[in-house]
């Protein structure tokens, strides 16, 4: 009797969960579908009829435009990928090691370090001072380092996330046992903590990667106008948008360079291709997620 009740209660939750998640998933995707369809609509159809899920006129013009500019767009893609991968890998290493150190409650000076971390999360010296330091002292202007290092490499928020996870989800008993066995802190970290924290690595990796992928402010500050080869995809898209806004708001009485203003559909297309790599890369992160949980369960 009891067993049946237990099963049906679980089952109900499972069904409920599925229903809710399906609805949410559909709501989440619908606008993206609209985005993709808009990029495949002809420009005049958009202007005349607005945005529709089934446009009156399909067209591949937007993507043709992108292909014509494959050199600059392909280059932008490459930059985006290099910067994202390098930044994420480096960043995760720095962040997780620091967080681990902070998670060891007996560490002398721990409170001070955490305080410094939070303080720096809230108080920023400002763009000007940061720019001066990076360009005058470290000379990274117009190099690829300028896209990786400033601002993004380590974020106090991620350190805190890791720290909380280490403190609460890694069993203390396991740590003590290994410690008594004579393992050094570093070994503890790499052999025990990291494998158990794979979901966290996946989460932070994804977020950090995304922040690199979507960043355009570093380009703005540190890459001068003639170095277009160092533009990332988002910086490229942002420049396009800014130019459009600029032209829309200013009448300059001069012939307008049509090739600088991609149409609405092209902007949508750029939006689509800006998102695709992440969507494709995401399943890999998911694998780590699952692995982390199953391994954790087994070890338990």
């Amino acid at each position: 009797m009891q067993k049946r009740r237990k099963i049906s209660s679980n089952r109900r939750w499972e069904i409920g969960g599925n229903i809710v998640m399906s609805i949410l998933a559909i709501c989440a995707i619908v606008p993206f579908v609209l985005l993709t369809i808009s990029s495949l609509t002809s420009e005049s159809a958009i202007l005349k009829n607005g945005y529709q899920f089934w446009p009156k006129e399909w067209s591949l013009d937007a993507y043709a435009y992108l292909l014509n500019h494959w050199k600059s767009i392909g280059n932008a893609y490459l930059i985006s990928i290099i910067v994202t991968v390098t930044g994420t890998v480096l960043g995760i290493m720095i962040i997780s090691t620091f967080a681990y150190a902070l998670s060891r409650r007996k560490l002398p000076g721990r409170s001070i370090l955490i305080f410094i971390l939070i303080f720096t999360m809230l108080f920023r010296g400002g763009a000007t001072a940061t720019y001066i330091i990076y360009s005058q002292i470290f000379h990274i202007k117009d190099t690829i380092f300028a896209l990786i290092i400033p601002g993004l490499l380590m974020n106090g928020f991620y350190v805190m996330m890791f720290r909380t996870f280490f403190e609460n989800s890694v069993p203390g008993a396991l740590m003590e046992a290994a410690h008594i066995d004579g393992a050094s802190e570093f070994k503890l970290f790499t052999k025990i903590v990291v494998p158990l924290s794979l979901p966290m690595f996946a989460t932070v990796g994804l977020t950090l990667g995304l922040s690199y992928w979507n960043d355009w402010t570093n380009s703005l500050y540190y890459i001068s106008a003639k170095h277009t080869e160092l533009l990332s995809i988002q910086a490229y898209l942002n420049k396009v948008n800014e130019t459009i806004a600029f032209l829309a708001n200013n009448d300059l009485g001069q012939p307008v360079p049509v090739e600088s203003i991609p149409s609405m559909t092209v902007r949508m297309a750029i939006g689509v291709i800006g998102v695709l790599p992440i969507i494709c890369a995401y399943p890999f992160f998911q694998k780590w997620f699952v692995r982390g949980i199953t391994e954790g369960a087994i070890k338990e």
Binding site: R5, K6, S9, W13, E14, G16, G17, M21, L24, A25, C27, A28, I29, P31, S38, G50, Y51, M93, I94, I95, T97, F98, L107, L113, I114, I116, I118, T120, M121, L122, F123, R124, G125, G126, T128, A129, T130, I132, I133, F138, L153, M154, F157, V159, M160, T164, F165, S169, E185, P199, T203, N214, M268, G271, Y282, Q286, F289, G292, I293, G296
Partner: protein
């Protein structure tokens, strides 16, 4: 003699930890601490002949515009209220959806769901503003044409009616952020040992009871940390959300102006770096006080969950 030996051992144990912290600390120093001297721009008169950091000291003059008009209080009110709204709704939603998600047993389904709800998070806010327009446009938007007209109702001029916008912004912010915010809770939930649940099941507890007794308490640390950090950001807002989504429409200002957008609009024509610096400083100070305050309170309640 014994004491000395003990001390030596202690440091040796901790040196590797300091070593592990070194890269992060170096980065913090260069990226965050060194530039702090730039904060003084907020208190100085901008004068390039003297150098940007050597202008005359003018105290709080640059801060005045933040409080000068009634608009200034509107912007502060909006910023704080929206943050509270997002925090409460966001937390409830995140936890609820994370729990529900965990109930899905089918591996393939759960992977699909997870990828799907994360997609909005990946799309940049500029593109989201295009999408919002596709839905909310008076003449060609999907809501007016595809839904209201079909039911015989009149079109609504979304971009000029302020009263709908707190809901619209709430929906959009949650739509965009949910996929990500559940990840943290999910990570937490997934690391709870299934032993607890089995034990509870054997004792005859229903699923809901299990969730209440096991899952929710285990989420407390994550919940506390995220809440404290949200409180610290109470005076900041997502610029893209409040500026680009409403498309800078005048009639909506009373409900869409936040500190960040107000400063942006006011200074767009004036371009005073000192004033923008002052605004940032103001936000930082308030945020800092709020975090310290909430941390102190949490400390009293449950010490181990405090941030420091």
């Amino acid at each position: 003699m014994n004491k000395k030996v003990k001390k030596k051992i202690r440091w040796k144990v901790y040196i590797p930890l300091y070593f592990m912290s070194l890269p992060a600390l170096i980065y913090l120093f260069i990226n965050n601490l060194l530039p702090l001297y730039g904060l003084q721009i907020a208190f100085r008169k901008l004068d390039y002949t003297k150098g940007v950091f050597n202008g005359d000291f003018v105290g709080f003059d640059n801060f005045k515009f933040l409080f000068a008009t009634s608009d200034a209080w509107v912007m502060t009110r909006n910023t704080v209220l929206y943050n509270l709204l997002f925090m409460v709704v966001g937390t409830v939603l995140s936890i609820a959806v994370a729990i529900l998600f965990n109930e899905v047993r089918n591996k393939i389904a759960s992977r699909i769901y997870q990828t799907a709800i994360l997609i909005p998070y990946i799309i940049s806010m500029v593109v989201v503003s295009y999408l919002a327009y596709a839905f909310l446009s008076s003449e060609s938007g999907f809501i007016n044409n595809g839904i209201l007209k079909v039911f015989g109702k009149e079109s609504i001029s979304w971009y000029t009616e302020a009263k709908y916008w707190p809901f619209i912004l709430l929906i959009i912010s949650q739509w965009k952020g949910l996929g990500y915010s559940i990840l943290m809770y999910l990570t937490n939930i997934m690391s709870i040992s299934t032993d607890y649940y089995e034990a509870a099941a054997i004792d005859g507890a229903s699923r809901w009871k299990q969730i209440k007794a096991i899952t929710l308490p285990q989420l407390k640390p994550t919940f506390m940390m995220l809440t404290i950090l949200s409180i610290g950001r109470m005076f900041y807002s997502d610029f893209g959300l409040f500026y680009q989504i409403p498309r800078n429409s005048g009639p909506l200002y009373s409900v869409t102006t936040t500190i960040d957008t107000y400063v942006f609009r006011a200074l767009m024509k004036l371009g005073n770096v000192s004033m923008s610096s002052a605004a940032g400083f103001y936000q930082s100070v308030v945020g800092f006080i709020l975090i310290l305050g909430s941390n102190l309170i949490i400390r009293k309640v449950s010490k181990e969950n405090a941030i420091f």
